[in-house]
Structure formats: structure tokens, C-alpha cells
Subunit: 244 residues, 2 copies
């Protein structure tokens, strides 16, 4: 099994054998190299300094045994000592609460509530990313961009009001790591939308210097290569960096 430092392993497919159980107290993440939800969990693990092993799953050709790890067949799933934790927000909050290191969750109840409300709005606008990246025509791209822009307006307003530069204030926190993955992908394919928002652009730029972001970063070229292959129906698009 590869560690997360060697996470370029091929994604397991429909006919792949189930890997043997992780060793005692070894944390395992089932995910996909280009999945923004897996990316959230990886960022939190990196920011906390928690080591883990990565099992990549091909979502277009899922291994049959994966349904026993996640009843909905979704990623990411976290496994440790036979316990399985699913849902990207639940796994991220669990890692922050269960492992030592810097606390990423905002403790002030009102600020935490406001961050969560922002993330709900952000979650609505991120469907625009998929519409833009995987849509059928120019109309999908226009609609997708407009939907993303609505989310960006809310983030920009938030950053102006809290003073920024991060959602969580002067340092990146859980809300920043939850928000960032879709932003990295949008920056790779439609940077013009980000540059219209001063505070958001500053947030994006500053996140590039964060050690956790750097540890999990894919180049814009690699994101674009994945989207190109995936939108052409290539089942193995997630292995773009292995096969190329």
C-alpha cells in the first residue's frame, strides 16, 4: 500500500481485488485523485500533520467490494481499526477533533455558524463548476460561470466583512480547507471569474503558500488534462498522471 507521499497509484477498478485491511491504528483514505471532496479531507489531514495511506478508487468503474466501505459508493471514506467514516464534512470534522495538532474548527459559536452558512451557499454554487467543466455546450459554460459567480459574490462579501485574508481570519481553518478545492479547479479552467473579486483573488493567492495546500496541489495543467479526458468519457481519466 502506498503512503500519501506516493499517492500516484492507479485507481482500483471493477475487477480489482480488495486491498488487505490497514494495519493497527493506520488511517486509510479511500478517494479519487481529482475529487474535490477527497481533496478537502487530504487538506485537513495535511494541516493536522496526520499520516495516512491512500487507496484510489475509479468512480467510473467501481470495485464491487467498495460498497462494503461506503453504502452510497461515494468518496471519501476514512478507515481506521475497522471503523468507517463517510461524508467529506464529517470526516474532516472527525480528523480535526480526534487528532492532535492545530485545531482547525472555529470555536466561537457565532463565527462557526456564519462559516457553515457560507459553505452551504458555496455548496450551491459549486454545481456551476461541473456544469462548466463537463457541460455539453456554450450555454452550459455561461450558466456554470454565472452560478459560480453567485457563490463568489457571497465569499467576497464575507471576506470584506471579516477582514480576511482567510474565511477563518488570519490563518486558514476548516472552512478554508472545505472551500478551497473547488476554487483550485475553477482557477485552472476559468481564472477570469476569480480575478473579478479582489478579496477572493487575495485568498486564493495566499492559500498557494499554505503548506497543506502545497502538499495536496495538482498543477492547473493536470486538472485541465483530467477534465479534458473525463469530459470525453474516458473511464481512466483519473489515471491521467499515471498513464501519461
Amino acid at each position: 500500500m502506498k503512503s500519501h507521499q506516493e499517492a500516484n497509484s492507479v485507481h482500483l477498478r471493477n475487477d480489482s481485488d480488495e486491498p488487505s485491511s490497514p494495519g493497527k491504528d493506520v488511517l486509510r483514505v479511500y478517494g479519487m485523485k481529482f475529487c474535490p471532496f477527497t481533496h478537502r479531507l487530504k487538506l485537513v489531514l495535511a494541516a493536522k500533520g496526520v499520516d495516512y495511506e491512500m487507496v484510489n478508487i475509479n468512480l467510473k468503474s467501481k470495485p464491487k467490494w467498495y460498497s462494503s466501505k461506503n453504502c452510497d459508493g461515494k468518496i471519501p471514506t476514512l478507515e481506521v481499526n475497522g471503523i468507517l467514516i463517510t461524508e467529506s464534512d464529517v470526516t474532516s470534522e472527525y480528523v480535526d477533533a480526534a487528532y492532535k495538532g492545530k485545531t482547525l474548527t472555529t470555536t466561537d459559536p457565532l463565527k462557526r455558524a456564519q462559516e457553515k452558512m457560507l459553505l452551504v451557499q458555496w455548496g450551491k454554487s459549486t454545481s456551476g463548476y461541473y456544469k462548466y467543466a463537463f457541460g455539453n455546450d456554450e450555454n452550459d459554460k455561461i450558466q456554470g460561470s454565472m452560478q459560480i459567480k453567485e457563490g463568489f459574490e457571497k465569499v467576497e462579501k464575507y471576506l470584506k466583512e471579516n477582514g480576511g485574508p482567510f474565511i477563518c481570519g488570519s490563518e486558514p481553518g476548516l472552512a478554508d480547507y472545505v472551500l478551497y478545492p473547488h476554487l483550485e479547479r475553477i482557477a485552472a479552467i476559468i481564472p477570469i471569474v476569480i480575478s473579478q473579486f479582489e478579496r477572493l483573488q487575495e485568498f486564493y493567492d495566499k492559500m498557494q503558500s499554505d503548506p497543506a495546500v502545497q502538499a495536496c496541489r495538482h498543477s492547473n495543467e493536470l486538472h485541465r488534462a483530467f477534465i479534458h479526458k473525463a469530459s470525453n468519457g474516458d473511464v481512466d481519466a483519473c489515471d491521467v498522471c499515471v498513464s501519461d
Copy 2:
């Protein structure tokens, strides 16, 4: 403005004036008398012993000014000193964290993660309630019941594994108050589905003795009267107990 002890006020309609702002430090809930999401927040407020005033909103004829309280026009919304908090889970967690009294949120990170995963599964099955209650024909009722049953199977398994009688263990906690409102409604219209599950039935029965549940309880007859009127397209169904 009525306090929550006098919450039988008529629901404000499209042409209703905006009520004046709540007084300093007065907590106001915008909600709807039969809304299970508002019910979650009311249960948490009751369990914490937090006083509040209630503004009922007619969701079928929304006051225009309500969009300034909640950009999605949804309920519940919490207002205090000009600050607005939305989303039923965010408002509930906020109240638990911000106000004194018994802590309702489970502190053990793994247990909390498992409760949240259960609530995600529960959230998927509760759409079966709407299909049953407001569906068009017998097929909708059958499909709705089956969907609810899937959620019940997961809750039953959870209660068996954690020993119950509540989701949070020996005392009701946040997860219990989030789960309960749909259960009360299902018990009012299809009790046969609950009685198939021993632990779930025990949970439901024990919740009836909880002071917060008692403070917010509608009778089964009242739930049924609301559903009867609402499914017949009566815009004022939410005022069933005012007009009857």
C-alpha cells in the same frame, strides 16, 4: 409579538407587514408551526431552556420582506441583535454552543461522526414522508413507506449497536432532537412502520416523556388535520389550529 408559550399566532402572509425588530438580546425564530426543520430548533431551544419569540411564516404565501431574513426563503431563521442564522442544523448547533445549560452535542469525536453519518442516511429517507403524506396516489404511499423503512432499518441497527435507548445514549442529545420531528409526523400517519422496529418504537415511546418533546408536541390529530388540508392545496393549512 407572541412568546413561544403563545405560539398559536396566525402565519404571516404575502401582504403582512414586517414585525418590528426583536428587543435587545431577544431571540426570535422565524418558522412554521408544522415544519419539521423548525421543530428541530424548537426542541433544542426547549431542551436548553432558552426563551424566544416565534414569528410564523406562511410558506405558501410568503411575506416579501422575509427574503431579507433568509436569502433562500427557507425556515427556520434565527434572529438576535440584527444577526441572522439559517439552516436547521446550523441554528441548532449554534444554540447548543452559544447558550448555557446542558450540552446536547456529543463530545466524543467518533460518536459524533457516527451520529452525523446516521443523520445523513435519515435525511435521505425522510423524503419518503413527503411522498407518503403529499403524494398523488397509492404508488406514492407504497414508495414513501419503503423509503422511510430503509431509514428506520439504519436507526434500528444504530440503536442496537449503541445500546440506546436514545441515539446519543442514555439521555436525548442533539442527534435525537434532529431525528425526532419526522418520526412524530410518521407516527401520526403511518404508525405501523415504526412498530415493526423494536428499538425505534422504544426510542419513540421514551421521547414522549422528554420535557422538550412535550413542550413542542402537536397531537397526531393536529398533524393529520394539517396534512389533510395541505395536501388538498389549502394555502392556509398551517393555520389549521387557529381557524378551527
